[in-house]
């Protein structure tokens, strides 16, 4: 079985978010980049399939050379091959189209992406890939079992969860639950050494078009100071929530 894990290269969760070039570009100054948390869960589940059921695991990113350290980290965690589609990621559609092409070329049976990236928050790439390659699709996936070409998955829904059955080829939008956080792997020295020798193939883009264009970014307006209420005067809190904030 051939698994492809989509890796989005995103600012670490503690990053301060700033913009440059007339607020049109994310300011990467001083920002540390990591594997998108949802993708990390997917990658670890892919490693489980590799070790327990026999599979090859490739990782893919659509982005410039600056994303290679993140792909190397995925190799150090245990992926076999990395592919970088050499183009700036501009919107979800373009990324999905480029990855769909990689999937077709590589003949992958299972594509694991994240439910959502923490930078663009599109929640769109995995579903688009699935539709482009005519594969089945389950998102918000918190459990995945494979038996031959049959799959059983659990999807988080509003207010609960749902168990579904489906089959390969399959695309997953994964999240925490796919594996537990305590099972996430931190690359060790041996993994890092081995990753240096593993193939990281740079492929040229097919030149997919975009459907949306970022005009500019804005930061939320600075917050006013908090109104403190004494713990001995909670009537005042109820009053403020009712009359001032009008939320109760």
């Amino acid at each position: 079985m051939k698994i492809l894990v989509c890796i989005s290269h995103v600012p670490d969760t503690t990053s301060k978010i700033n913009f440059t070039d007339g607020d049109s570009k994310f300011d990467t100054t001083g920002v540390q980049f990591v594997i998108n948390p949802n993708d990390e869960f997917g990658l670890t589940r892919a490693m489980w399939f590799k070790e327990k059921q026999g599979a090859s695991v490739d990782v893919v990113n659509v982005g410039g050379p600056e994303t290679e350290p993140t792909l190397r980290k995925a190799l150090a965690i245990g992926a076999d091959n990395a592919i970088r589609v050499n183009t700036e990621a501009k919107d979800g559609y373009q990324v999905a189209k480029e990855i769909a092409n990689v999937v077709k070329d590589g003949g992958y049976d299972l594509v694991i992406a994240g439910r959502e990236s923490i930078d663009y928050n599109g929640g769109m790439v995995p579903g688009m890939i699935a539709e482009m390659i005519d594969a089945n699709f389950v998102t918000n996936c918190i459990n995945l079992e494979l038996d031959g070409t049959n799959a059983k998955a659990v999807r988080e829904i509003d207010g609960g969860k749902e168990t579904v059955s489906t089959s390969l080829p399959l695309v997953i939008g994964g999240q925490k639950g796919l594996v537990e956080e305590s099972d996430l792997r931190i690359p060790n020295m041996r993994g890092i050494m081995m990753a240096r020798k593993k193939p990281l193939t740079v492929v040229e883009p097919i030149g997919a078009s975009v459907e949306t264009t970022t005009v500019k970014f804005e930061k939320p307006a600075p917050k006013g100071a908090v109104t403190l209420v004494s713990p001995d005067n909670l009537d005042e809190l109820v009053n403020l929530l009712h009359n001032e904030a009008k939320v109760i």
Binding site: A96, G127, K161, T163, P231, A245
Partner: protein, 320 residues
């Protein structure tokens, strides 16, 4: 030409978000000088949609669609879009709508903007404001395709009554093979979900242990709120994972978010910042949450929360 809106229902009854996306669709239709057509699956009474500006409802009644299926629903909505010659399709950001939107986007060759906060700032070029960087920023984006799909964040636009009436029409699309079959659904039905809630009561490690959640549940009940928790609380197994909110958990965009014994780490705040009014109850005046909150009580949750419950009960009794 019209604006098409997918109005979700559960067991035949429209969800509140259905009225919110209908209100949003009406605003877009007004900007574009056109009408609103709603798409509804197995809904009992569609006349309610008129109140929020819907002119016409395409009604599907089909037992095979009882369980949500992203592929079938996306295909049916695509057929409705073509039938109506709709140029804009509006969906909510429920788990189901987020599931179907990217599929629909490819099917219709329509650009999709998710997490949209406001009515379009312009309809030509079609420009919307969406959240990005997990609520740490906004992204003003144009959708450049002929047909546009807008995913409206829950609780961002609100309900706007329009006093109209809607005509209903039966609609029978041809449905593709499902590909994904629902085996079982495990849904808590007697509790407000975080996605739908107008008020969320959330608690953190300051609660010391799972045995102390009774007062959190009670406060939520008095307010008709959903309960949520910080990440360590779900990691420790004090509360189910489904309650974990924040950057790596569920996003919260409620009208009121009450944080009890939560420090306000950047990853927590990122996921809940879209909430309109934030209240923090914490013993530590230096807790970062006080910088993000609108109202704060520096105090011990074990004293403040039971008192607050009593005050709110009294408030409810006098306002009933």
């Amino acid at each position: 030409m019209s604006v098409l809106v997918y109005t979700e229902s559960e067991n035949g009854t429209f969800k509140k978000t259905a009225f919110e996306v209908a209100s949003y669709a009406k605003a877009v239709a007004t900007q574009m000088g056109t009408t609103v057509t709603a798409f509804a699956v197995n809904a009992n009474d569609v006349s309610e949609l008129g109140k929020y500006g819907v002119d016409k409802v395409l009604k599907i009644s089909d037992d095979s669609l009882k369980n949500f299926n992203a592929k079938s629903y996306a295909s049916a909505i695509a057929q409705a879009t073509k039938n109506e010659d709709a140029k804009v399709v509006i969906v909510s950001q429920s788990a189901d709508s987020k599931y179907l939107a990217p599929i629909l986007s490819v099917g219709l060759e329509a650009g999709y903007a998710s997490n949209v906060m406001e009515a379009p700032t312009s309809t030509s070029p079609f420009t919307v404001k969406r959240t990005a960087f997990t609520n740490k920023a906004f992204n003003l984006t144009t959708i450049d395709t002929d047909i546009k799909i807008v995913g409206v964040s829950n609780n961002s636009f609100g309900l706007v009554e329009a006093n109209g009436s809607a005509t209903a029409e039966d609609f029978s699309p041809s449905l593709p093979a499902k590909g994904v079959t629902v085996e079982s659904v495990d849904r808590v039905t007697d509790k407000v979900t975080i996605a739908d809630a107008e008020i969320v009561v959330s608690a953190g490690r300051g609660m010391k242990g799972p045995e102390n959640w009774g007062m959190i549940e009670e406060l939520a009940e008095v307010l008709g709120a959903a309960t949520a928790c910080s990440k360590p609380v779900s990691d420790l197994g004090w509360r189910p994972h489904s309650e974990h909110v924040g950057q790596t958990g569920k996003p919260v965009a409620s009208n009121l978010y009450i944080a009890i014994g939560i420090s306000g780490a950047i990853q927590h705040l990122a996921g809940i910042n879209a909430s309109k009014v934030k209240v923090v109850i914490n013993t530590d005046p230096e807790a970062p949450f006080f910088k993000a909150a609108d109202y704060g009580v520096v105090g011990d949750a074990f004293e403040v929360v039971p008192q607050l419950i009593e005050k709110l009960k009294a408030f409810k009794a006098s306002n009933a």
